[in-house]
C-alpha cells in the first residue's frame, strides 16, 4: 500500500511540474515569445553566477567535511608513499589553480556577456599570440609534472634495495596467502599443477626444492618489520587480483602465470599508527583492487607492522609448511616409523 502511495505521489509531482511547464509556455506565447525569451535569459544568466558561488562554497565545504577522512592528514605510512604525497601536492597546486581560474572565467563570462541590447558581440576569430600562450604554458607545466612523476616512478619501480625482507603474497578467490622464505632467505619453487590442498600443499610448492623446506605459509595476515624495506612477490592462483595498500600508497596486480613485484618501506608500526590516527581499531588492510568475482569486496588481508623483536617472536611461533605436509619429518615430533619415512622420501624424488 505504501508503495502504491509513493508511486502516486511521484506521478502527481511529475504532473504538477509538467502542468507548470506547459502553462509557462502558453504564458510566453501570450506575452510575446521574444519578451519571455529575454526574461528567461536573465534568469538563467543569474543562475550561472549563483551556481558559481554555490559551487565554490560547496567545494570548500566538501573539503572541510571529507579531507580529514582521507589518509592525507596523517601522511603516507611508507617512505616511498611520502614522495607520492609530495607529487600529489604539486599536482593539486597546479590543477587546482587551473580549475578555479577556468571555472570562474566560464561562469563569469556566461553571466557577464549574456545577451543585451547595449553591446554588440565582438568579431574575434583567432589570435596566434593567444594560442601560442595557451599551448606553451600548459606544455611547460606538464613537462615539470612529468619530470617529477617519472623521478619518483623510477625510484619505486627500481629493484628493491639489498637487505629487503622478501615475502610472497598469493591471491585466490577470495583471500590472501602469505609465504615467508624462512632462514635461508629463499622461497621454494612452485608449480601450479602440484597444488593439492588435501595433501597440505595449497600453493603448489615443489618439495623437491630444498629451499622450500623452511618456508612458512600463513593466511590473511602479513607481519613486516618497521623501517626495513619489504619486497613482495605477488602471485595469483585463479583470476587477476590486486594487492592494494592505501596507507602505504602502493598497489600491484596479482596476475596468474606472471609473478609481479613491489617494494616499500613501512615507517610506522601498527601501534604507532593507532596513536597517530587516534583510531584504536586502525589496521593496515590489504584490499583487492581488481574485480575478481562475487566475493571481491570481502577479499581482505591485514599487514601488521612491528619492531624487529616482535617480528622475531612471531616467527618463532610459526612452523614451516613442509612439516604440515609431512608431519612425520617434523623434528619437534617423535621420529616417524621407517615405512612412512620411505614413502615420503619417494614422494620427494618424484
Amino acid at each position: 500500500m505504501t508503495d502504491f502511495f509513493l508511486i502516486a505521489i511521484i506521478v502527481l509531482f511529475f504532473l504538477i511540474i509538467f502542468q507548470i511547464s506547459k502553462a509557462s509556455e502558453y504564458v510566453s506565447v501570450l506575452k510575446g515569445e521574444e519578451k519571455s525569451r529575454r526574461q528567461n535569459n536573465k534568469v538563467n544568466g543569474f543562475f550561472m553566477i549563483a551556481f558559481l558561488v554555490a559551487g565554490l562554497i560547496g567545494v570548500w565545504y566538501c573539503n572541510k567535511l571529507y579531507y580529514p577522512k582521507t589518509l592525507f592528514p596523517q601522511g603516507a605510512a611508507s617512505a616511498e608513499g611520502k614522495n607520492i604525497d609530495t607529487m600529489l601536492w604539486i599536482t593539486i597546486a597546479v590543477t587546482g589553480a587551473v580549475f578555479f581560474a577556468t571555472q570562474i572565467l566560464l561562469f563569469w563570462f556566461s553571466f557577464r556577456y549574456q545577451e543585451s541590447d547595449k553591446k554588440k558581440p565582438l568579431y574575434f576569430t583567432h589570435s596566434n599570440k593567444l594560442e601560442l600562450i595557451w599551448t606553451g604554458i600548459p606544455a611547460i607545466v606538464l613537462t615539470v609534472l612529468v619530470v617529477f612523476g617519472l623521478k619518483y616512478w623510477f625510484q619505486f619501480t627500481s629493484a628493491a634495495p639489498k637487505g629487503s625482507q622478501l615475502i610472497e603474497i598469493t591471491g585466490h578467490q577470495f583471500g590472501w596467502e602469505i609465504r615467508y622464505p624462512g632462514k635461508d632467505g629463499m622461497l621454494g619453487r612452485k608449480y601450479y599443477k602440484l597444488t593439492d590442498p588435501a595433501k597440505n600443499n595449497p600453493l603448489g610448492v615443489d618439495w623437491a626444492d630444498a629451499a622450500s623446506h623452511d618456508d612458512i605459509h600463513v593466511t590473511t595476515t602479513m607481519h613486516v618489520v618497521v623501517n626495513r624495506p619489504v619486497k613482495l612477490v605477488i602471485n595469483s592462483q585463479d583470476v587477476i587480483h590486486d594487492v592494494g595498500l592505501p596507507a602505504f600508497r602502493m598497489k600491484m596486480d596479482a596476475v596468474p602465470g606472471t609473478p609481479t613485484t613491489m617494494w616499500f618501506t613501512p615507517i610506522y608500526t601498527t601501534a604507532q599508527m593507532k596513536e597517530k590516527t587516534g583510531n584504536p581499531d586502525f589496521t593496515y588492510e590489504i584490499a583487492c583492487d581488481q574485480l575478481c568475482g562475487k566475493g571481491h569486496f570481502g577479499m581482505r588481508g591485514v599487514i601488521i607492522v612491528e619492531t624487529q623483536a616482535e617480528f622475531d617472536a612471531y616467527m618463532a611461533t610459526q612452523k614451516p609448511e613442509y612439516y604440515k605436509a609431512f608431519p612425520e619429518l617434523d623434528p619437534d615430533k617423535k621420529p616417524a616409523s621407517d615405512s612412512t619415512a620411505k614413502t615420503v622420501a619417494q614422494n620427494i624424488k618424484k
Partner: protein
C-alpha cells in the same frame, strides 16, 4: 576542388534532383519509411531513440546498485518483485550487483555514448551540414543501425539468463571473464556479451566507413574541408578512431571466445580454480588488456569528440560570435585523435608493466592535456564579449565545458604513473571518468538534442522543463561525483558491494547514502527529459521559421521538415566558413551567401 570532382558533383546533383523530385510522389509504406528506412534522418532518430531506451535501462541499473551502496544494511522488498532470485528478501545478490555494474558500464559506454551519441549526430548532421542528399551508402547506413539493433537484442536477452548477464566489469578482463567457474556471469552471459559486441563492432565499422566517405566525397560545391563546421570535424575524427580501433577489440573478442570454448591459452596460464587444475599454460591475461585498451582508450575519445564538436557549434551559435581559433580547434582534434592511439597502457600502470615502457605512456598521456587545454581556452574566449543566449542547448554546452574541465584536470593526476599507483581502481577513477566522459558527453548529447530537435521533428521542446532538467542535472552531477574524489584519495576501491567490514573505508557510509539519494533525484530528472522529448515530438510548439537559432550552417537552409533528399531544389553552394557571426555589424551571414566585395576575409 579540381575539375573532375566538380563535374562529378554536378552529375550527382542532377541525379539527386531527379531523386528528390520523386520523393514527394513516391508513396512509401510505413515499413520502408520508418523502420527499414535508408533516409539518414530517420536512421539518426532510430539511433537516438534506441540510445534513450538504453540510457533509461543503464541509468536504472545504476540507481539499483546505488541503493545497495547507500543502504548496505537495508532491504527493499520491491527489488525482489523486480529481480526475483537476484534479490532474495529484497537484498541485492552480490553476483547480480556486479552484473548491474558491468551492464551499466557496457550499456552507457557502447550503446548510449557511442551508438546513441555519434550514431545520432553523425547520421543527422553529416549530410545536412556538408550539403549532401544522404550518406554515401544509405543501404550500409541502414545496415549499421540494424546490426546495432541486433546487438541490442542479444545484450537485452542476456539480462534474463538464469545465470545472469556478464558480470566481470565492462572491461571483461580474463581469466575472470574466460572461466565459467570464476563467476556465474562468465557462463552464458559472457558468450552473449561477446556475441553482442561482435555485432556492435560490425555496426560501428559500417557506420564509420560511411561517415568518412561522405565527409570526404560528398561535400557540396564550395564546401572545402576548412569550411566544415566543427561538428563535422569532430565526427570525422571519431569515425577514423572507430574504424582503426574497433577491429582490435574484435580480435580480443574472438580470441576470448577461443579460450572459452576451443581450449586455447591466449589469456590463460597457471590457473587453479574451484579446486580444478586447468591445463592452460603460457598465455597472458595482460595481452588481453593491451588489446582491450587499444580500443578502450580511443573509445573514450569516440565518446568525447562528438560532444566537443557539438559544444563548439552550439557555443558559437548562441554567443553570436565566431568560434575562437577554428584552425587550432581542428588541429587539437587531430592531436587528440592521434595521441589517443598511443596512451592505452596508462590503464595498466599497476599490472606489472615494464616501468620504462610505462614512462612513455606517462609522457604521451600528459601531452593530451595540451590540445584539451587549447579547446577549453578557445571555448572561454568564444564566450568572452559574446551576446549569450541561454537556450537549453547552450546551457548544456556550458555545462559540458565545466564538467570537462573538472574531469579533465584529474586526468593529469591519473596519467602520472606515480600518482596512479595510489589512485588506480579507486573511487577517484570513478569520479574522473564519469565527469569527463560520462556526464560531460551526456551533456554534449543533451546540447545536441535540444539544439537540433527543431530540425529533427519540426517542433520545440518545452523550455521550462529543459531548464529544470539542466540545473538539477549539473548540480546533481557535481554532488554525486565531486565527493567521490575524497573517497578515492582514501584508497576506497571501486566495484565493492559493501564497505562496512573495512576499517579503512567504512567512514564514508554517510557520504555514500547522500550520493545515492542525489543519484535517485538526478535519475528522476532524466525521466522529465525523456517525457519532454517524446511529448514534444507530437505536441511541442511548432517551428515556424526555417532558421530558429539564426545559425549559418547548411542544415537550416532546408525546409522545416525536410523530406528524403533534404533540399527540394538544388543543393546550395557554400562561399564562406560557418562562423560568420557578428561580422561587419550583421548578426550572422549564412554559409550560402557569397562573400561581398568590401567584406574582410577572416
Amino acid at each position: 576542388m579540381n575539375n573532375e570532382e566538380v563535374s562529378h558533383e554536378q552529375s550527382l546533383v542532377v541525379h539527386d534532383l531527379g531523386h528528390a523530385a520523386h520523393v514527394h510522389h513516391h508513396k512509401q509504406s510505413f515499413i520502408t519509411k520508418y523502420i527499414f528506412s535508408q533516409d539518414h534522418k530517420i536512421i539518426s532518430r532510430q539511433f537516438l531513440i534506441t540510445g534513450i531506451i538504453w540510457a533509461l535501462i543503464g541509468g536504472l541499473f545504476s540507481v539499483i546498485f546505488r541503493l545497495q551502496l547507500g543502504y548496505p544494511d537495508s532491504t527493499f522488498p520491491f527489488l525482489q518483485d523486480l529481480l526475483g532470485h537476484w534479490a532474495p528478501g529484497g537484498k541485492l545478490d552480490p553476483e547480480f550487483y556486479y552484473a548491474l555494474v558491468t551492464m551499466h558500464g557496457t550499456i552507457l559506454v557502447f550503446f548510449v555514448l557511442t551508438a546513441g551519441l555519434s550514431g545520432t549526430f553523425a547520421n543527422f548532421l553529416i549530410p545536412l551540414q556538408v550539403g549532401a542528399r544522404d550518406m554515401a551508402s544509405p543501404f550500409l547506413n541502414m545496415l549499421s543501425y540494424w546490426f546495432f539493433f541486433s546487438a541490442s537484442i542479444v545484450m537485452f536477452c542476456s539480462l534474463f539468463l538464469q545465470t545472469g548477464p556478464a558480470s566481470g566489469g565492462w572491461t571483461i578482463y580474463p581469466p575472470l571473464s574466460a572461466l565459467g567457474d570464476a563467476m556465474s556471469g562468465s557462463k552464458t552471459g559472457m558468450d552473449m556479451w561477446l556475441a553482442s559486441m561482435g555485432l556492435f563492432i560490425i555496426s560501428q565499422l559500417l557506420a564509420g566507413l560511411n561517415y568518412i566517405t561522405t565527409i570526404l566525397n560528398m561535400r557540396t560545391k564550395g564546401m572545402s574541408m576548412t569550411r566544415l563546421p566543427l561538428t563535422i570535424w569532430s565526427l570525422f575524427f571519431t569515425a577514423v578512431l572507430g574504424v582503426l580501433s574497433f577491429p582490435v577489440l574484435l580480435s580480443a573478442v574472438v580470441l576470448l571466445l577461443f579460450d572459452r570454448h576451443l581450449g586455447t591459452s591466449f589469456f590463460l596460464s597457471d590457473i587453479v580454480i574451484g579446486g580444478k587444475i586447468l591445463p592452460n599454460e603460457g598465455g597472458s591475461p595482460i595481452l588481453f588488456q593491451h588489446l582491450f585498451w587499444f580500443l578502450g582508450h580511443p573509445e573514450v575519445y569516440i565518446i568525447a569528440l562528438p560532444a566537443m564538436g557539438i559544444t563548439s557549434e552550439v557555443i558559437s551559435v548562441n554567443s553570436r560570435k565566431p568560434i575562437f581559433g577554428y584552425m587550432a580547434m581542428v588541429g587539437s582534434f587531430f592531436a587528440i585523435a592521434a595521441l589517443s592511439f598511443m596512451v592505452w597502457a596508462h590503464h595498466m600502470f599497476v599490472t606489472g608493466l615494464n616501468p620504462f615502457l610505462g614512462s612513455f605512456f606517462v609522457l604521451l598521456t600528459l601531452l593530451i592535456a595540451v590540445p584539451s587545454a587549447i579547446k577549453v581556452f578557445n571555448w572561454l574566449t568564444t564566450l568572452w564579449k559574446g551576446s549569450i543566449r541561454f537556450t537549453p542547448g547552450m546551457l548544456f554546452a556550458i555545462g559540458f565545458v565545466s564538467l570537462f574541465i573538472s574531469g579533465g584536470l584529474t586526468g593529469i593526476w591519473l596519467g602520472n604513473s606515480s600518482l596512479d599507483i595510489h589512485l588506480h581502481d579507486t573511487y577517484f577513477v570513478v569520479a574522473h571518468f564519469h565527469l569527463v566522459m560520462g556526464v560531460a558527453s551526456m551533456f554534449g548529447m543533451f546540447a545536441g538534442v535540444y539544439h537540433w530537435f527543431p530540425k529533427m521533428f519540426g517542433r520545440y521542446m518545452n523550455n521550462t522543463l529543459s531548464y529544470i532538467h539542466f540545473w538539477i542535472t549539473i548540480a546533481g552531477a557535481y554532488c554525486i561525483f565531486w565527493p567521490m574524489h575524497y573517497e578515492g584519495l582514501a584508497g576506497m576501491p571501486r566495484r565493492y558491494y559493501d564497505f562496512s567490514n573495512w576499517e579503512s573505508f567504512k567512514m564514508f557510509g554517510g557520504l555514500n547514502e547522500f550520493i545515492s539519494v542525489v543519484a535517485l533525484i538526478v535519475f528522476a530528472t532524466q525521466l522529465l527529459f525523456i517525457f519532454n522529448f517524446f511529448y514534444s515530438i507530437f505536441k511541442g510548439r511548432k517551428v515556424t521559421t526555417p532558421n530558429p537559432w539564426g545559425a549559418t550552417t547548411l542544415e537550416w537552409t532546408t525546409p522545416i521538415r525536410p523530406g528524403h533528399g533534404n533540399w527540394i531544389s538544388e543543393i546550395p553552394e557554400v562561399y564562406r566558413w560557418p562562423y560568420d557571426y557578428g561580422k561587419d555589424g550583421r548578426d550572422f551571414i549564412p554559409q550560402t551567401e557569397p562573400v561581398g566585395e568590401n567584406e574582410n576575409r577572416h
